[in-house]
């Protein structure tokens, strides 16, 4: 039996899976060390009880249900339950501090909130007075909450029990509510963290979400047999697409990790066939592999080096099904048995048929490492405003520096000023209660401004992204300053976790560097360099030398690019603290808020341009629970090597 492609809401899709594959697992969660699964039929029963329970608490069509917590089956069920009533789920980032949450809850007019545990409930109780619209709070995990005595606070199971009763008393209610839902109705509101200003609620209709999800499935040939691990924040559009929408359309099973710290292990146990991770996770996995290989016995290390060199030579060609010599092919197969297979198994990617990455540029070395192992990792380009897909790399046409060709039904045009614009069935309805932003982002005929500058590469026909359009500026001598491009080059080094470049309307470029504590810490231990913590390690002379090497290499690299040669980094410093979303320095999706960082550390920026070689700084930091503390350090500033550009050398020779 084939699925009807006219099903236009998630509750209707759910009903169809109950008919098509009632006994197949829909969702899984590791609990008490054992993977527990719920079939599509069981899932539907749970959702029905919850939906009716929400109705008994007064949730009506068009009203909002906030969902706050880690990826848990019950939290995903709450999405469908709300949608069954025609209400709108609004997932929030679970690591938001109370103030950020208050803004979204109030802005979104949230009526009922579902919180995972005591931590989230405590935050909600703290801000409840500031959110007059927020009525009931429901919690999933009862731990620590037994002594809480509020009449608006309910246990999840208690709500479901009330729901079963409500269902019996209101015959046909649930079916009628589902029947009343349609494709044009709001499916979900997702808040984008944005690198400037307050978060904006992106309103997406059922058609936006379901059509885009289906197009993605068609393009990649996904089936109901895929395995997916849901481990990225539920508030992020990607998780909603990969772990929710596409699961409901294709009917595949989604697994929820035991908790945030066990993801690597759970990944290995589940062995997803379809996987998404931002570049930082791929980088991190590779760093861990390299650290562990350095500790391995000599013979293993030699074997690893030999076969990895072979994979680098022919692996990508084999993945692209290009012809290679018989000897190379046989050697690759041997390598697969001895090295690549076991390595992929450890990474949890042995069964992965399709892996995506997006959000940031990925280092070519990192990208090639995974592809040479035979993992089909591809880049995509997307936004919350269109339910992810704008461009995807087609199989066999995968390059480190492009984001591929337009996804199904997506039209793209590049404006005269270089800005990329698109139109697709996924294009959002509006920013919630924000007509000005909606009007400035979306044209009347449905084209959306991405805010990114880019062009179509003539050789491949793929889209290339240069930078966030508003970040691109000019140095005082008038030459182009594209910070993101250079920052990415810096971040390709495993020692550098984050970099922030300054240079717009300045005489030259300078950089803040965040070291990667794991990679640099390991490097230091191997050299018997003692350190007490992040601040100490970041200020060590040897670490400065290490980072200087990386900066010098990047400078040499960009000196060859005539347009960017002037942007070589003259001076840099290693920041005394890691940039952190709790301090507002990063967005919740870990993107640098450049303007804010520049203001917060203006003293350091001035020091970079004033010729000082040291600067004392005191910084206020926010801890996870919202408390504040002070951090003070003397930050050293170092000059980097600057290379002559080819144009200059030619000029000098003439």
């Amino acid at each position: 039996m084939e699925q009807d492609t006219n099903l236009d809401t998630f509750p209707k899709l759910l009903q169809s899976h109950v008919k098509l594959r009632p006994e197949q697992a829909a969702i899984r969660e590791k609990d008490l060390g054992i993977w527990q699964s719920w079939t599509w039929a069981e899932t539907a029963t749970e959702i029905r009880a919850l939906a009716c329970g929400l109705a008994s608490l007064g949730l009506r069509r068009g009203e909002k249900l906030a969902i706050i917590g880690d990826n848990r089956p019950r939290l995903y069920w709450a999405m469908t339950a709300a949608q069954a009533l025609g209400a709108v789920p609004v997932p929030l980032y679970q690591d938001s501090v109370a103030d950020e949450m208050a803004y979204v809850l109030d802005n979104a007019d949230v009526k009922i909130a579902l919180a995972e545990d005591q931590e989230q409930v405590d935050k909600l109780l703290e801000i409840r007075e500031r959110c007059p619209g927020l009525g009931h709070i429901i919690y999933d995990d009862t731990r620590g909450l037994r002594t809480y005595d509020y009449d608006f606070l309910h246990d999840f199971e208690q709500v479901q029990r009330a729901g079963v009763e409500y269902d019996q008393q209101h015959e046909g209610f649930y079916e009628r509510e589902i029947e009343a839902g349609h494709g044009g109705e709001v499916s979900i509101t997702l808040y984008t963290s944005g690198t400037t200003g307050n978060p904006k609620g992106v309103v997406l209709s059922n058609d936006n979400v379901i059509v885009t999800a289906r197009n993605g499935i068609v393009r990649e040939g996904l089936t109901s047999r895929e395995e997916v691990l849901a481990y990225l924040p539920m508030a992020w559009v990607g998780d909603n697409l990969f772990s929710y929408a596409q699961s409901y359309v294709a009917g595949f099973c989604v697994s929820c990790p035991e908790n945030a710290s066990t993801v690597a292990n759970d990944l290995r146990e589940i062995g997803p066939t379809y996987y998404f991770a931002p570049p930082s996770i791929y980088e991190n996995m590779l760093t861990q592999v390299m650290i562990r290989m350095e500790d391995a016995a000599a013979i293993k290390r030699r074997m690893f080096d030999y076969f990895m060199a072979h994979a680098r030579r022919v692996g990508v060609r084999i993945l692209n099904r290009e012809p290679v010599s018989l000897k190379d092919s046989l050697l690759y197969r041997l390598g697969d048995i001895l090295v690549y297979g076991p390595l992929k198994d450890v990474l949890g990617l042995r069964r992965t048929r399709l892996a995506y990455t997006a959000g940031e540029a990925i280092g070519p070395d990192i990208f090639d490492f995974y592809r040479s192992l035979g993992i089909n990792i591809k880049q995509l380009y997307g936004q919350t405003e269109c339910m992810v897909f704008i461009c995807v790399q087609p199989d066999g046409e995968v390059y480190a520096d492009t984001v591929g060709t337009p996804a199904i039904d997506v039209e793209i045009r590049v404006e005269d000023d270089g800005e990329i614009m698109y139109r697709s069935p996924g294009v959002f309805q509006a920013y919630y209660k924000n007509p000005e932003s909606t009007a400035s982002t979306k044209t009347d005929d449905g084209w959306v401004h991405t805010g990114d500058a880019g062009f179509f590469d003539e050789a491949t026909g793929h889209l290339k992204i240069i930078d966030r359009a508003r970040d691109v500026g000019k140095l005082n001598d008038g030459t182009l300053f594209a910070p993101k491009y250079i920052e990415n080059k810096l971040k390709f080094f495993s020692f550098i976790k984050e970099a922030v470049l300054f240079g717009n309307a300045r005489d030259y470029s300078t950089a803040f560097i965040n070291i990667d504590l794991d990679a640099v810490g390991n490097w230091a231990e191997r050299r018997n360099i003692a350190y007490t913590g992040y601040i100490d390690l970041a200020s060590q002379a040897a670490v400065y030398d290490l980072i200087k090497e990386c900066v010098d290499k990047v400078n040499r690299d960009i000196s060859e690019d005539r347009q960017l040669a002037n942007s070589q980094i003259r001076r840099f410093l290693i920041l005394h603290k890691e940039l952190d979303a709790d301090d507002g320095e990063l967005t919740r999706t870990r993107k640098v808020r450049r303007g804010f960082v520049g203001e917060r550390y203006d003293k350091l920026v001035e020091a970079l341009y004033s010729g000082q070689d040291q600067c004392h700084i005191e910084t206020e930091v926010t801890f996870e629970d919202g408390r504040r503390g002070k951090l003070s350090a003397d930050v050293r500033i170092v000059d980097a090597e600057v290379y002559p550009s080819p144009a200059e050398t030619r000029g000098a020779a003439a």
Binding site: K30, D31, L32, G33, I34, R143, G144, R146, T147, E258, N259, S261, T262, N265, F623, D625
Partner: protein
Amino acid sequence: MNTRELGDVILRVDNISLSFGVMKVLDDISFDVRKGEIRSIIGPNGAGKSSMLNVINGFYHPQQGSITFKGNTRRQMAPHVAASQGIARTFQNIALFKGMSTLDNIMTGRNLKMKTNLFWQALHVGPARTEELENREAAERIIDFLDIQAIRKKPVGKLPYGLQKRVELGRALAAEPELLLLDEPMAGMNSEEKEDMCRFILDVNSEFGTTITLIEHDMGVVMDLSDRVLVLDYGKQLADGVPDEVRANQDVIDAYLGVPHEE
């Protein structure tokens, strides 16, 4: 927290004195612990706090006085008898099996709960198998409770100190004790780890209803956590009462701040 109703007396200590040779470690100490409360014993180093715990769980044998636990009065008791009656404890210096995994360490805490004999356990069939599954489930609940899933299979010796402390608490909980004795559960921890540990102690108390007696010399932590506090100084009982009383007690202030008595 301090205003809640307390249950019946579960443990009563009457006129306990303990000496090692001429050293008088505990001098005529009397107090009680009520069911469901968090009862703390505080005092400067060498005040006799750990000795008091050792007397309660039968490790030391006092020369005078008696202990009444759940209605049974005694002067001496072997530690394993104390354990089988429902007293579990953790140690100031972690006493885990370093080479064993977190899970296995917690499973050892279930030892007294296992009823089948070696024969069945060796064959791993029938009742032994059912029992093992039950105990594994109990251990997993504790792992979940203490949020240590990620280290379930890691050897304990390789874990950082704060986590080892948590595993040790887990092993004590595995015995499902009625009275849990914690010997400086927060010693050597940073403020974040301390906060986590406080949360766990409160949760153990409220979720399982476990009565807890803990020793600590971080005054602030104790005052926030405890229902009642007993203060010892050089083996003598200095004060006993709810945190506010103890905080206001002049003898306690003097002992802690080292101000001489003005008589």
